[in-house]
Subunit: 120 residues, 2 copies
DNA sequence: TTAAAGTATAGACTATACGCTAAGGTTGTT
DNA sequence: AACAACCTTAGCGTATAGTCTATACTTTAA
């Protein structure tokens, strides 16, 4: 599929897709048999990758981290041991974030209680 | 205390403190009796606010959101009902973030299992 | 066949959250 | 009085993650 269809399928603008491609997160390929244009073609995996980017961004991963994640997810060349290391790192950082979020929840809840009780 | 001491107490550079002040998150006040300089003085509450900013930033709140939080926390003028509304909004968004983080953890764990089992 | 719609590249622009430097005045110690 | 250490405003620079504009070529539909 071309960038327009990819854009619709993934719910991401063509501009942003090009930005991700320039950042090395995804890659389209030209059809070498076609000489008249330089249109890039994208596959189903790219749709998945864009969805992964969206989800991972929403939990606070940076594009650099998401790049590592995509490599661990889709690279045929990365050794399994390295993939597991990357995935474990991400799991640890997710746990740490959850821990911090819970601490913040506790703080806000406590303060809410104080406000409600008139200690303000 | 002056900005240098505040900086040390809160572990934030003077530059960043000035940036926060310009952003409306904190406020120092000049001693009007002193005419020879324009030094600003900060109180203990400001140290607390800077710590709150640090913690809230680490869980992904933007400075704009942190501004609302600080108002709910410290404003003497904001009605209690409004404070509670703001705090409840933050609690809801924290729960949503925790939910997303857990979903991402699940995804990565599942994929890790697949990789470990050689389905890659 | 020509106008609309799609694609490519390059580069300028935006917002957030700072970091850094300059140029100047003030305070404290010796 | 000299000098370090501190404070002020102003403004430019940086990284991330886009967003938009300009220019130009290609494809598609009427």
């Amino acid at each position: 599929m071309l960038i327009g269809e990819l854009s619709k399928r993934a719910g991401v603008t063509a501009h942003t897709i090009r930005f991700y491609e320039k950042s090395g997160l995804i890659r389209g390929k030209r059809d070498e048999r076609v000489k008249s244009n330089k249109y890039k073609h994208y596959d189903e995996e790219t749709v998945e990758k864009l969805m992964l980017i969206r989800d991972a961004k929403s939990v606070g991963f940076t594009l650099a981290e998401i790049g590592q994640l995509i490599d661990a997810w889709y690279s045929r060349r990365m050794p399994v041991a390295h993939k597991l290391t990357v995935l474990n790192e991400k799991l640890v950082s997710l746990d740490e974030r959850i821990r911090q979020l819970k601490a913040m929840k506790k703080m806000i809840s406590q303060y809410k209680q104080d406000v409600a009780d008139g200690h303000c």
